[in-house]
Each structure stands twice: as C-alpha cells, then as structure tokens.
Symmetry: C2
Subunit: 194 residues, 2 copies
C-alpha cells in the first residue's frame, strides 16, 4: 500500500475545500451535497463514494479546519512560552476561516455527539500544551501545584475567544499581552477575593 490513487486524494481535497468555503461563507445549514456539487464540479455520486452521509462530510470539514497548535520551544520560560502560545491562538482566531467555524462548532457540539468529539480532541491537544506550559511556571516557582490549570487557561484564553466571537474589540497580539499581563499581576498579588 505504498501510494494511494491520486484521484482519491484529489477529489477528497477538492470537496473538503469547497465544503469549508461554503460553511465559512454561508454557515453549516448551507452545506448541502447539491451545493458542493454545483461549486466544486465533483459529481454527486462521487461525494457519496467518499462520505456515507452529509453529516459525515460536515464532521470532516471541521476536523480538516481545526487549527493545530504547537508546543513552544522548551528553552522558553513560562512567560515567553505562554505569550507565544497566546499569540498563536490569536492568529488562528483572527483568521476568517476559524473565526467562523469556531462558533458553529460551539453551537452544534451540544446536539451532535460526533462534533462534540471533534471538539474534545481539539481540547485534548490544547490541554497537553497547556500542561507543559504550566509545568514550566511551577518549575520557575511562579505558582504551586494548587493552581487550577483549567481556570487559569480560561482566564488567559477567554478574552481572546470572546473578542473573536463578539467583534467588540479587535483581536490582536496586544490583547493577548494584556491578558497575560493581568494574569501575571494577579499571581504576584494573591487573590483578595478568596
């Protein structure tokens, strides 16, 4: 099984790209097999050869578009590594593609178990990176093991996602810096609310 038929890879890519464009431009409800046929030139029967149902295609579209975040270089300390990570998140959220797809995924995951699993896998990858990052912070003595990592990540990433969703404030690296800066400030001044 050295090589796979190039025709298969070709149509698969064409269909996925077209489907993603439709979802981004018109939403998930507009993703119909006929729409993909009309826009991609790929035949109806061919699409059903690759995906048993329309829903399977939609799942693959999301999976195809989920951003792949990368663990920052191990030489970096907590602050620099976290900043780099947050900047990468900003990049993906600012991109029109994921900017439109994320809310759709959030909205659908509550009702479509298959999409919920796509989102789970995404959070797993992100979770392992975040664990790595917080391990650096603990090693540097910035906080102890009692720090709630999930909550901390929520505090750091939340503003970025919110900015992307609401469109109230522009999503920029400076926003990520501000979020990180507030978090670090909160570390040195122990939470008076508890």
């Amino acid at each position: 099984m050295g090589t796979t038929d190039p025709r298969i890879a070709r149509t698969r890519a064409t269909v996925l790209d077209t489907a993603a464009a439709i979802v981004v431009e018109q939403g998930t409800a507009a993703l119909t097999v006929d729409a993909v046929v009309a826009r991609s030139g790929v035949a109806r029967s061919t699409i059903y050869r690759h995906w048993p149902t329309r829903d399977d295609l939609l799942v693959d579209v999301f999976e195809h578009c989920v951003p792949s975040l990368v663990t920052p270089s191990p030489e970096l300390g907590f602050e620099a590594a976290m900043r780099q990570f947050l900047h990468a998140v900003v990049d993906h959220l600012a991109d029109a593609k994921w900017n439109r797809m994320l809310p759709a995924l959030m909205a659908l995951k509550a009702y479509e178990p298959t999409l919920a699993r796509v989102e789970e896998r995404m959070e797993e990858r992100q979770g392992s990176i975040s664990a790595d990052l917080f391990a650096r912070g603990e090693r540097e003595g910035m906080f102890g093991p009692e720090l709630d990592r999930s909550r901390a990540m929520t505090l750091l990433v939340g503003p970025l996602v919110f900015a992307a969703l609401s469109g109230e404030t522009p999503i920029t690296p400076e926003l990520a810096d501000a979020s990180l800066s507030n978090f670090l400030a909160g570390l040195s001044r122990p939470d008076p609310a508890r």
Copy 2:
C-alpha cells in the same frame, strides 16, 4: 386600546416558550413550525397568524430569551459594582437556557442580519451599563480616560463566556472574582508589555 385579547397574549406566550424549549434542547435547526405545533398544541394556521415566517419566529425566540442585565446601584464603587455585574453575567451564562442560546446566536449572527441586530441591541444595553461602571472607576482615580473600555470589558467578561462555551471549567461567581481580581492587579502594575 385598554386591554388586548387574552387569547393573543396566551398563544404568543405558549408558542414562544415551546419554541425556546425546542431550540434549547435540539438546536435552531430543529425549530420547525410542525415541531411547535406538535409540542404546543397551537394550530399551524394560528402560528402563521402571529409570525409571517419561521425565521421571524426564531428571531422573536432569541429576543424573548436575551437576558436583561441591570445597572448596579449607584452607591456602589467600581469594584463592588463590577463584581455585582459579573456575578449577574455568570448567573445568566450558568442558566441552561442562555447557555445554549448564546452560542447559537453567535454562530448565526454572521449570516442572518436580523439576528445580528438582536445581538447588537443586546450589546448596546450591556455597553451602556459598562460605560456607567467605568465612569465610576475613573471618578475613583483607578484609571484615566485613556483606558480602552471595550478591551477592558473583553478582559473581564471573556473568561466567563469562554467557560460557559467550552465547559472546561465550571462557571461560578469565584471565576468572576478571579477575573476581576486579575484585572485590578493589572491596573496597579502597569502593563509591562507596552
């Protein structure tokens, strides 16, 4: 026009409640006129007497469910008032109803101008409250007029919305306190990233 026919108010309320329940439980795609008929007992023709199209009904459902936030008492200072406001936000986000509806609204507003306007009105109301709150902070000398209010609100509310959407970390008043605490800490320690 002293009193309106109670039948009208009754049907309207029944249909809106039923429709909201369907959207919460099964998503906006499941909101069909037939589904409302089956579940509410209201006749098809009656629904079309009140709403010209299914989409108009959906818009009304969102409008009917948008939480109405309230300006905290004027006696409260910036910190206490903001805390109260954030706790109210947490309350609404923790409620199953709005917890499901918000992502749907976020996902659809990009493609449905009518829903975009629902969201705009919501943000306007929220924006006027936020202006009031920041005015208190400025009066107390916590920051000057150069503070970007939109960004600040994003930093404060973002984590709450993100927690509600992702489900990674529980959405509690303590989370709101942590967000506020980080923000205040960031104020006293001027942002080193700029």
